[in-house]
Assembly symmetry: C2
Homo-oligomer: 248 residues x 2
DNA sequence: CGGCTGATTGATCCCGGTCAAATGAGGTGG
DNA sequence: CCACCTCATTTGACCGGGATCAATCAGCCG
């Protein structure tokens, strides 16, 4: 068992996630850890890592902290289209396109590894399981984005918010960031509103409703889910799109 | 110039699209045409090609006709999360995941090519430009899905519908399916409602509003856009996410 | 002709938006 | 330690966009 030490520990979240999504070979794990160590960076909260229209020339893997992808209309209306959680990748393969369609901003302090395009392509060429894992990550992103579409288009306010809580909770679980029935939840209600397509005022009232029915506690940037099954059922949440379980 | 004959003509739409997205080598074009010819199929309207939960074992490329991806909640609420137009791929790489998260249904009669997984993987391994093109297609899908998120979450009814019209129109253009200022638009208002997250009644009223302001005509499954710039501006439509223009 | 699907219209209601203000919780500098 | 500022959360009042319910109309097909 490598990656118990101070060094390998950094890539823990990524490796855990990939192993659920698509198992890595031992050499792939080693190569990934190596690449991660070569380009460590940090960013404070509220920093834009990527701006709409940018040309991407590297791949970034989040080691700790939260970010979100968002788009803004001319008149300022904003939609958060997804969150990026520890162990997830900002923009695998995005260097293939001339420009990126959305912005990425940190919600908290973030530690990430940056792998230059050429380095990344070499890595993909030499480690098939790693290439497949990144491919799966892109496909998963796609699936999550589709679920967000039905969330925004067809669920009512309470379901939207409940569904978002369920999803984040289940996405944090495989990387070991759920403790007991709580997880960190470091985003403002304004962000939450922009993620669910609601106004801040109504989002606030919806959260209070979830609190009142005893489904959740949200305080001091911590989300506690008292009755996960009840929350899931209130959200019409079905986790299959998250691909958390491998085929037998 | 090959692919003028009856055979090569079939793959025209795909090749045109890919050449805008990411240019193919001559050998890639030939290999793709070959693979397409090996597995031609047809389906009638209203057929499910893929059902949520299915395991995918091949890649399908649409040669003609429209399909849509959709998800349904337990209680029947449905969201169309995207359309699949001629020249587009149903599920490149989807065989990597144990199961698919959404259904794909034909809206019209459809002709498509089916390439088995093993065959497809060999093709990707031998033709780098083709592999990159499919990768770009997946990335583009992702970008479209994100734009749909802001459409569903932050635009009002009129903008939503106008935006959908603009997007489809611009997606049909590179494959040569726009004639003058019209294109085929073979979906019911119910489908349109489920794509924009509106009720059928309100969708109908919104279309009438677009008609009344002289922006569009929609009759006999044909969409005519009288003033594209005006429609785009009403929709807050910005086409960059469609990656239709290559970097200089 | 009857039955079916899709488009259209009318009437009514309510979820969630908007506006405005109050309350709280740091953070900073004097 | 307090005055002051800023940012996030919360509350109240009101309004309107879009949902819902219920008919009607128009093609199309057998």
């Amino acid at each position: 068992m490598r990656s118990q030490g101070t060094d390998g520990g950094l890539a823990q979240a990524v490796i855990r996630r990939f192993n659920v999504l698509r198992p890595l070979s031992e050499s792939a794990v080693a190569a990934l850890e190596q690449a991660v160590l070569e380009g460590l960076f940090r960013a404070g909260p509220g920093e834009d890592l990527v701006a709409e229209g940018d040309q991407i020339e590297s791949v970034r893997i989040v080691l700790s902290g939260w970010l979100f992808r968002h788009k803004t209309l001319e008149d300022g209306r904003r939609q958060i289209v997804n969150f990026i959680l520890p162990g997830e990748t900002c923009d695998a393969h995005a260097y293939l396109l001339p420009s990126i369609d959305h912005s990425i901003t940190t919600a908290t302090p973030v530690a990430y590894a940056e792998i230059k395009r050429v380095r990344f392509e070499k890595l993909m060429a030499s480690e098939r399981t790693l290439a497949e894992a990144f491919m799966c990550e892109t496909l998963l992103n796609n699936a999550i984005q589709r679920e967000w579409a039905i969330n925004l288009g067809r669920r009512v306010a309470l379901e939207k918010v409940a569904h978002l809580f369920c999803e984040i909770y289940e996405r944090l679980r495989p990387v070991g960031l759920v403790e007991g029935n709580s997880c960190s939840f470091p985003v403002t209600q304004m962000d939450l509103a922009d993620a669910t397509g609601l106004s801040v005022v109504h989002l606030n009232r919806t959260i209070q409703e979830l609190r009142a029915t005893g489904l959740i506690t949200l305080r001091d940037r911590t989300l506690t889910i008292s009755d996960l099954d009840a929350l899931k059922s209130a959200a019409l949440f079905s986790p299959t799109y998250l691909q958390l379980y491998r085929r037998a």
